[in-house]
Amino acid sequence: MARAVFIVVALLFALAGPAHAAAANIDIRGDEVDFFSDRLLIAARASTLEVPGRVHVRADEIRYDLRNGKIVGAGHVHVRLPGASVEAAAFAVDLRSGTAYALHVDPLPDTLKIAHFTLAGAVHEAAPPDVFSLGDVNGLRPWIRGKHAVVTEDVGVRFAPAEFPTGSGITVPSPHYLFIYASNPNYASNPLPAASFDQPYALVTGPHSADLAHFRFDTQNSATLAFDHHLVFGENTYAVASIAAINRPARTMSLSFSQKMGTKYNQKLTSTFNTYNTGFNAPLSASQSTNYLISRALRQSYVQISLTQSHNNLLARPRNGQFYGDPGHGWDPRHAFSAEIQWNGYDVKLRNGWAYHLSSAFGYDHDAFGVIPSANDPVPYNTIWHHGAGLNVQSPLFKYRDASFQAIIEQDEKWYSYPHRVDQTTLRATASRRLNKAINLIATYSLQNQLDDYHARQSVFFKPPKLPYLAPDGTPWPGYRAYAGATTNREYRLDAYYTPSAYFNFTAGFTHTHDFPQFGGSGRPPYSASFDIRMRPLPNIGMEIGRSYYFNWNRQTWSPQWTFAVSP
């Protein structure tokens, strides 16, 4: 299976099309090399900067604008170009266009325009007015300081070693630090599972690649390490291989490939492997799921084909036929294959501001061991077909002075060739009111009803539990016997936003849920409150902290963890 996935990915890369020209590794050395992350600017003193094969600059001051690929040198500038050198009072070069300006006094101030890094053919011409701009970093504290930096053009900058100056005069050293500033988001996209905290640490970059380690924390696995490797080819094609929870027995490995093919087609391949093994011992469980998705945009809709192959267990049958190691690692031989074609319409706007869209699906599930668990039906149904339809209707946003209102209703139905139907209805209504420039209130009501209907076999699939049935908090819950496949979720929510300035925001939220089933820790807490503070102690540093309170639901008062984030 892994070999097949690898071959498919290789074929997809072969179809990826021409790659971009490789970015250069630009070497900067000096008495002091500073990096300002908010400006993406390197300021170097008594320094040299070399772009291999293009230009070498030595100057009293060098500025390198990473985002725009522009370099300025001032003071005793010596420039070496292929086959020639220039002495100048100031020098500026645009790496992308290859156009440079050298300013010297001989005896009058004179500017030479140099094209394509070639002195031959240089002309006397005034430089555009912002060419020699050095930026303003006087008195500012750089984020990273060192004596040597290497820039992978348009991707990242690496300092080895690096220092992080703090405001107190203390610098925090690091043997290595790599900052990825690529404007292409595909250097960051990764399929790692969600975590309460995730701090990436870039290790290596190349013109088309980036390797990052992640320090993560989540409530299930506690502190974990993860790693991902990115391959990027322009804005339309990328692949990511990742492994999460390296330091835990339960690991997840993922391989994703995404490609946009022209204006109409888009394909994605995602493969996930889950294993459980300690150290280098044989795994106690191993499962995988691979999905291939291809979409084609039509004029007012799109069509999507989805193929999924799953293996509940990649391991051979255990000797006892049931589990490896302990019953917690049960062996399940099923390996379902699913195929579905979907048609989804875009929003159709009606004259009065209302809108709707339709959707439909047709597909099947297949498993040699039976799609329906044998405990629910002893007849082995190897293939079950399904078809579905959906309708979504949205109101316009009604506004009256400082208030607004909007509602949406969705209905989805799915029918199976086995006596089974899933019916889901969702209603959401939202009202808002701005009290003043700083305070905004949002009130939301949502209702979702879902019915999982197995017709005559309903009581087989939703067998009433034997009494006493205990809720997660240990409380007897006889009412659970009423659950027979129909669920209702109701939510009443009020959020208040206080934003007096761009540097501070406080959000408080109050939620009441009235669901079925919901009792003693099963389901959502009936009452919860949350707060979140977002502030900017400095213009280039943002901080966010938040937490929720559950009013003693399943013995929880405060939520198990804080949410905390630092942003640029």
């Binding site: 009058l108 109409k264 949205q394």
Partner: protein
């Protein structure tokens, strides 16, 4: 070595001075006021002060320097004698001077330059001021965005971390965020609901390229998320 350009300008200035002295017998003639301009120092070489606009100003032999050491990247306030076209005083500081005229407004005839690379007359656009400006990002989200989900702003400042900065909800369909940014900064950004599987897509589910804005005072965007990756 061609001094014609500067020689002509100096001769004209001297002639104007002599004319003024010869004509003025009715009363004492007040000298024309000096001209003051603010800008960023690029380099001082020989007798020329070069500012970051690329213009060079001739220094008077007795030009007065005040403030900190005149190193590249620092800011200057130059006082020019319009009669001689020379800089007679330079004040150097670590931060930009405010309230004065920019060096980009210096009349062309005050600039010392080899005629071969003289700039044509006309106004010169000033570069970014280096000031912090407030930029407001407003995004409209699809109506089926789940209740209780938070919309996040994600940009190249954090390598597109999917939960970079939480936005504030305005109403059922709109979220906003005000950011203080350095004027002239180019920002690339996208939106997400806090996870890799809930980033924005185009209507057919394909990845969308990042948006771009240049930070200027009062900029307000009106972006639209057409679809989320995990929702139809």
């Amino acid at each position: 070595m061609d001094l014609r350009g500067v020689a002509v300008k100096r001769a004209a200035g001297a002639f104007a001075l002599m004319f003024a002295l010869a004509a003025g017998s009715a009363g004492a003639q007040t000298p024309p006021p000096t001209l003051v301009f603010d800008g960023q120092l690029l380099v001082i070489v020989d007798r020329y002060l070069v500012v970051s606009s690329g213009d060079a100003l001739h220094l008077a032999a007795d030009a007065q320097f005040t403030g900190i050491a005149p190193k590249p990247g620092r800011f200057v306030r130059v006082t020019i004698d319009p009669r001689t076209h020379d800089v007679v005083a330079i004040s150097v500081a670590a931060h930009a001077y405010a309230g004065g005229k920019s060096v980009t407004e210096i009349p062309r005839d005050l600039v010392a330059v080899d005629p071969r690379s003289a700039r044509k007359s006309g106004s010169i656009a000033a570069a970014g001021s280096g000031q912090i400006v407030q930029v407001t990002i407003v995004v409209a989200v699809p109506a089926n965005t789940p209740t209780g989900d938070v919309v996040y702003f994600t940009s190249d400042r954090s390598n597109f971390s999917v939960a970079e900065t939480r936005m504030d909800q305005i109403d059922a369909l709109h979220w906003s965020l005000t950011l203080p940014l350095l004027e002239g900064t180019t920002l690339r950004y996208k939106f997400s609901r806090g996870s890799y599987t809930a980033t924005e897509r185009d209507r057919a589910g394909a990845d969308v390229p990042s948006r771009s804005l240049v930070a200027r005072a009062g900029v307000k965007t009106n972006d639209v998320v057409l679809r989320w990756a995990d929702l139809r």
